[in-house]
Amino acid sequence: MKRRNFVLGLGGLAGTGTLAMGTGAFTSVSADRQVAVEVAGDNSALLRMTPVVHRIEGSEPATVQQNDDGLLEVDVTQGGATGVNADAVTWIGTSNYEQQSAWVDVEDDNIDWINDHTYTPRAAFGVENRGTQDYELTVGYEYAGDPGASEIAFHIYDGAAPAFGAGSPSTYGQVTAENSVTVPDGGGQDSFDLGKRIFASIAVDTTGGSTDDDLSGTLTISAETA
């Protein structure tokens, strides 16, 4: 039995320089490609939502936390309380967010922000753009039950320190069940561009309400390109 050597000649690739796209006939192509994608806790996801933690105060607002599923959660029954006080205004996060005294130095929070920053406000939670581009950020709230005469409001502001000058921090208004708040895109100082952080303090107003009032609900945070 003779062995045969087959030499498969590759002919000269004539005219490779003029080989135009769109000149091949094919019946089918099946191309395998690698894809990796995973889920992350809110604290490290593309749209980062994190409780604001202050070492300087020794503790975070116990009512704001990441739950076991990694989702940001506000629960006023943490720590043994059964609810906020009736006929009162309870703040989660500072009510004084426009003032210098409400801010702490970078060394005194333990948030691993992407970009350098000078101050972190004593907010209830923060939202950071960890995606790939500028977005328009919209925040809305919907009650799950009957709030009665009580109301919850999320005061939205950015991370610019008052020391930056007039107009700092930027404030965007209050999110309530009737009113959503939009942080614009577009690259301006106030916009939700890449790396930008937006903060919220929560005011729970039970003035004139009763202990039957249920302020529970769902906060919807959307980051979209316009």
């Binding site: 690739l13 192509v29 099946s30 690698q34 990796a36 994608v37 593309l46 990694g70 989702l71």
Partner: protein, 176 residues
């Protein structure tokens, strides 16, 4: 007979990132074959759970052959689900909402048409000619046509950690 192998961007079925798209950060085009990684971008390490995430302008797939082909993807994770869709910016032959059509431009601002077999696509009826009614056809690309591909995920994504191979198929219209 002459056969050449080309980079994805120059092949008969061109698979490439989209020029100028910020979401090209998720697409590695450095090798001969593209790869997608949504877990290693600067800062964010993954998709938010219990949220709708749409990553538009992820891929552009172009028919550089000589006949009409249906193009679709399979092998994406189903539970939890991350799917691919066709965007309104695509140029295809069967845009529409009827039988045998792809709902690519029904909602230009939101989720587009079906592109992966775990979206609104029946893998056993890619051209949607069997009249089940609920599905779409895969995008049908004439020579020179292209489909812009987005990725989307929503709801309960707990446990999602997908690293694997997906398959992008192109089959001639007459052979489906």
């Amino acid at each position: 007979m002459e056969v050449q192998v080309s980079d994805d961007a120059d092949a008969l079925l061109a698979i490439d990132a989209i020029d100028g798209s910020p979401n090209s950060e998720y697409v590695d085009t450095s090798g001969n074959a593209i790869a997608i990684d949504i877990s290693s971008v600067e800062g964010g390490t993954g998709l938010n759970d219990q949220a709708l995430t749409i990553i538009q302008d992820l891929l552009k797939i172009t028919n550089q052959g000589t006949q009409n082909v249906y193009v679709w993807a399979e092998g994406l994770p189903t539970d939890p689900r991350v799917a691919f869709g066709s965007q309104a910016s695509s140029q295809i032959q069967n845009a529409g909402t009827g039988q045998g059509e792809n709902q690519v431009d029904v909602n230009p601002a939101g989720s587009g048409g079906a592109f992966s077999t775990n979206s609104n696509l029946d893998p056993n009826d890619i051209d949607d000619n069997e009249g089940s009614g609920g599905e779409e056809a895969a995008p049908l690309l004439a020579p020179g046509d292209y489909v812009d591909v987005e990725a989307f995920a929503s709801g309960d994504l707990s446990g999602l950690d997908f690293g694997g191979t997906i398959t992008i198929n192109a089959v001639a219209e007459d052979d489906v």
